[in-house]
C-alpha cells in the first residue's frame, strides 16, 4: 500500500472558527510581510465547511472586527443584532424575570448568528485567499518524530464494517508541516492524543464540559421580536446541577433554542435530552413554539472549565487553539470570538516562528505570551473559578459569578474543584440507595411529536449520515460496560448520548449493548461523560456526520 504524502508549511486541523481564523490570518501576514509564500492547508472532517458547526449562537464581533474589518461589506451572515436581553429564573410552571441583566449576559453590540452559515462564509473568505480547504478529511493520528509533532495522518477511506478494504479503498494521507495548529474542537481526538502523549495538562485543573442540545424552529410571525436573547436558569435542573436554557430570535420567525447541561451531574439516571424537552414544555417556552415547526436538531459538548483548565497550548511543532484548548467563557456563554482570537494568535506565532526558522516549543511559546497579553486572558482570568464554583450548587455559583464581576476575579486562592465531571456521577445505589425499581430516566417526560421529540427523531433532523459499511467509530470496552458499568450505573450512555447511539437491546441471551454509530452527531459527550471512561470517539470516515444547516 502506498500512502500519499503532502508537505505544507502550516497545517490547520479543523475548519471551525479557530482554524479558519488562523488560515485567514496567515494569508494576511504573508501578504503584509512578503517572503517565500507559505503553503497552508485546512483539514475538516465535514464534507462542507460549517456542516458540523453548532452553537447558540451569539457572536461577540470584537475578533471578527480585527480579523476582517470590512466584514459587513463582505457579506458576513450576521442574522440579527441583539436588541434586548432577558434572563429568567424558571420554576416548574412559573418564571421569574430578573429585573437586571447580569453584566456578563448583556449582549448589546453582539449578533445572533447561525454558526453554520458564519463558518461557511469564513471558509469562503479563506479560500478566496488561496488557502487549501480539504473538506471530508478527518485527522486520525498525530505524526511525531521524537518529541516533535510533524503533522497528521488522515483517516483511511473505503474500509468495510469488518475492517477490510473495499474496492474504493483510499489510504489516509500523511500531511507534514513545519507547524500544525490543532483546532479540532471540543474534546478533539487529536488534541486529546497530544494532551496525553505530551502531558500538556500537567498542573492544570481537570477539564470541565457541558452538553448543549439545540433545535432550530420556524414559529408563527410575531412570536418573538428578532434580536431577542433569552437565557434561563433553574428548572428543569436541580440545585446542584449546572446549566440553563437559551432562546435566540432571528428574522422571519426563525428561533434558535437549546439547553445546556453540565457534564458533572451526580444522578446516573439524568437524561440531558429529557431536560431539554422539559425546558420546551415549560409554559414560557411552549407558548413561543406552539404551532411552529422544528427544522433542525443537534448537540455538541462545550468546554466549560475556563482559564485554569487550559492546557499548555504549544509544543515542538504544534499549537492548540479554540475549543480544543478550552478557550471559552462559560459565564458569558461565548467562545466563538475566543476561538477566532486564539486562531489568529496561533497564526501569528506560527508565522513568526517559521520566518525565524525555529518552530521548537521554545520558539512557539510566544503563543502563550501573546495569549497572556491579549483579550483572551483579560476575559477568561477573572472568571476562572466560576464554573468550578457551580460544583457547589446553583446559588454558590451565582454568588461566585457576581463576585467575579465585582472583584474582576482578584481572589487570593483559586477554588479547587479537583475531579473531572464524569467522576462526580454516583452509582445507582450511591445516589438512590435501594429505592430504585426501574432504569428509566429520572427526568422522564412524555414525547408528543409536536413540541417534544424522541432522540431518534432528533437524529433525523440533525441530517446525520455516515457510510453504513464502515467500522464503528465508537470504541467501547464492552467488558466493563456489561460487567461493571451496567450494574453500577445502569448504562448511563443510553441517557447522556443525545443521539440514541447507545442502546441496550434485551435479548434472550441477556442485555446487549448495541452501538448505532451512524446516529452519531459528533457531540463527544460519550468520550467525556462515561463514568469508567471506556468510550473513545475516533473520527468516522471523512464526510460523515451531521449536516447543521442554519444551526
Amino acid at each position: 500500500m502506498t500512502r500519499e504524502t503532502l508537505e505544507v508549511d502550516v497545517l490547520i486541523v479543523g475548519g471551525g472558527p479557530a482554524g479558519l481564523s488562523a488560515a485567514i490570518r496567515l494569508a494576511q501576514l504573508q501578504q503584509q510581510e512578503g517572503g517565500d509564500p507559505l503553503s497552508i492547508a485546512v483539514l475538516e472532517k465535514a464534507r462542507d465547511a460549517g456542516a458540523h458547526m453548532l452553537s447558540g449562537a451569539v457572536l461577540d464581533p470584537s475578533t471578527l472586527r480585527d480579523l476582517i474589518p470590512d466584514f459587513a461589506e463582505r457579506g458576513a451572515p450576521l442574522a440579527a443584532p441583539v436588541e434586548r436581553d432577558r434572563v429568567y429564573f424558571l420554576a416548574q410552571s412559573s418564571s421569574y424575570r430578573l429585573p437586571i441583566i447580569p453584566p456578563p449576559l448583556r449582549n448589546h453590540g453582539n449578533y445572533i448568528i447561525s454558526l453554520n452559515a458564519f463558518v461557511r462564509w469564513l471558509a469562503g473568505q479563506a479560500e478566496g485567499q488561496g488557502i487549501d480547504f480539504f473538506g471530508g478529511f478527518a485527522g486520525q493520528t498525530v505524526l511525531t518524530d521524537g518529541g516533535r509533532v510533524i503533522g497528521v495522518r488522515t483517516g483511511d477511506r473505503g474500509i468495510d464494517k469488518y475492517g477490510q478494504p473495499k474496492p474504493t479503498f483510499e489510504p489516509g494521507v500523511d500531511i507534514t508541516a513545519k507547524v500544525t495548529i490543532f483546532c479540532d474542537g471540543v474534546r478533539g481526538n487529536l488534541t486529546k492524543e497530544l494532551l496525553r502523549t505530551f502531558q500538556l495538562a500537567r498542573g492544570r485543573q481537570p477539564e470541565q464540559f457541558a452538553l448543549g442540545i439545540k433545535e432550530l424552529w420556524d414559529v408563527p410571525a410575531g412570536r418573538l421580536e428578532p434580536g431577542t436573547v433569552i437565557h434561563s436558569l433553574g428548572y428543569p435542573l436541580r440545585q446542584d446541577e449546572f446549566g440553563g436554557g437559551f432562546i435566540y430570535a432571528m428574522p422571519e420567525g426563525r428561533v434558535s433554542l437549546g439547553f445546556v447541561v453540565g457534564l458533572d451531574y451526580k444522578d446516573p439516571l439524568l437524561d440531558p435530552h429529557m431536560a431539554f424537552n422539559r425546558f420546551k414544555q415549560h409554559p414560557l417556552v411552549a407558548r413561543l413554539l406552539e404551532g411552529g415547526q422544528m427544522v433542525r436538531y443537534g448537540a455538541k459538548a462545550l468546554p466549560e472549565g475556563g482559564w485554569n483548565t487550559v492546557p499548555q497550548p504549544y509544543l515542538d511543532g504544534a499549537l492548540i487553539a479554540g475549543d480544543a484548548g478550552g478557550f471559552l467563557n462559560s459565564m458569558r456563554l461565548k467562545g466563538i470570538h475566543l476561538a477566532m482570537r486564539t486562531g489568529m494568535l496561533a497564526a501569528e506565532s506560527a508565522f513568526e516562528a517559521i520566518r525565524a526558522g525555529d518552530t521548537s516549543a521554545a520558539s512557539l511559546a510566544r503563543y502563550q505570551r501573546k495569549i497572556d497579553a491579549s483579550p483572551v486572558r483579560a476575559e477568561l482570568y477573572p472568571v476562572r473559578n466560576v464554573h468550578q464554583a457551580f460544583g457547589y450548587g446553583l446559588l454558590a455559583g451565582l454568588a461566585f459569578a457576581g463576585l467575579a464581576v465585582l472583584t474582576r476575579g482578584r481572589w487570593v486562592e483559586d477554588v479547587v474543584h479537583g475531579e473531572p465531571g464524569h467522576e462526580r456521577m454516583q452509582t445507582l445505589t450511591g445516589y438512590y440507595g435501594t429505592r430504585l425499581t426501574a432504569l428509566t430516566p429520572s427526568n422522564q417526560t412524555a414525547v408528543d411529536r409536536r413540541l417534544t421529540f424522541d432522540k431518534v427523531t432528533g437524529v433525523h433532523y440533525s441530517g446525520a449520515a455516515h457510510d453504513e459499511d464502515q467500522p464503528s467509530h465508537l470504541l467501547v470496552h464492552t467488558d466493563v460496560c456489561s460487567a461493571i458499568c451496567g450494574p453500577e450505573y445502569g448504562h448511563p450512555c443510553t441517557r447522556f448520548c443525545p443521539a440514541n447511539v447507545y442502546e441496550i437491546v434485551r435479548e434472550p441471551a441477556g442485555p446487549r449493548l448495541q452501538i448505532n454509530a451512524s446516529n452519531c452527531v459528533h457531540c463527544k459527550t460519550c468520550d467525556i461523560m462515561d463514568p469508567y471512561a471506556v468510550i473513545t470517539w475516533v473520527p468516522p470516515e471523512g464526510g460523515g456526520g451531521p449536516q447543521y444547516n442554519g444551526m
Binding site: E4, D48, T154, G158, E170, Q547
Partner: protein
Amino acid sequence: MKIAVCIKQVPAREWQPRLRDDKAWIREQDVSYEMNEPDAYALEESLRLREKHGGEVVVCSAGPTRVQQVLREALARGADRALHVEDESLSSADASVTAAAMAAAMADEKFDLVLTGLQSDDQGHGQTGVVLAERLGIPHSTIIMEVQIEGGALRVKRELEGGWFQWIAMPLPALLTIQSGINQLRYATLKGIMAAKKKEIRKVALPAGLQAGQQIVALSLPSRAKQTQIIGGSAAEAAKELVRRLREEARAL
C-alpha cells in the same frame, strides 16, 4: 475520446424544504448543495472510460455561480476541465431550458460521448439528457447499466422494468443517461483537490430567449388526507375484517 459529463447541483439529501414567500420556488438562502447523486455515477463512468480509452473528460453544468462548487468537486475527482453556463435564472430552470442552454454551450466542442445522470434529485423531470441528445442531433439511450466501447462503436446495457435488460449498439457520438449504482464512486484525493484549483472552468453566457416547457405554479408540502381506520375486536375478528377491507375497499390484494 472526448467525453462530456453533465452534472447538476441540487440541495443536499438531508435538506428540509422551506419555500419562498411566493411558493413558486424554494428558499435558497439556507440550502446546502451537493452534486446530484445520479450525476456522480455518470462522472465516475466517464473517468473509468477515459482510463480505459484515453482522452479527455469535460464536466458541464448549467446553473448560477454556486454550481462552481460541484464543478470543482468533479475536477478534484479527475475531470480535466469544466464548462459552466452561468446564469442566476438557471437555478429553477426546467429541463427544456437547461438542455437548450447546455446544447448551445456544448455544440462547438464536438464531444464523442455525452453522459448524464438518470434524473436530478431536485426537479426530477428525467428529461434533460434525452432533450440534450435531440438538440445535439446525436443518438441516445437511457438508464444504462454498462458501457462498452470497441473500435469507435458503442454497445450499452439498458435497464428495462422488472429485471429485464437489453443490449443496444449505436454509433458515436452519442448520449447516455447513466443508472445510479452502475459503478462505485471514488473518493476525491487531497492531490486531486489541489490540482482542481488549477484546472480551467470556462464560463458561457446563457443564450437569450430560451423557451421553457413548463412553469411552477406553486410548491407545497405533500399532504396526507387519509384517516386511519382502527379495526377493533378479537384477533380473529380484526384479521377477518382487515382482509375484507383490503380486498373490497383498498383493492390491495
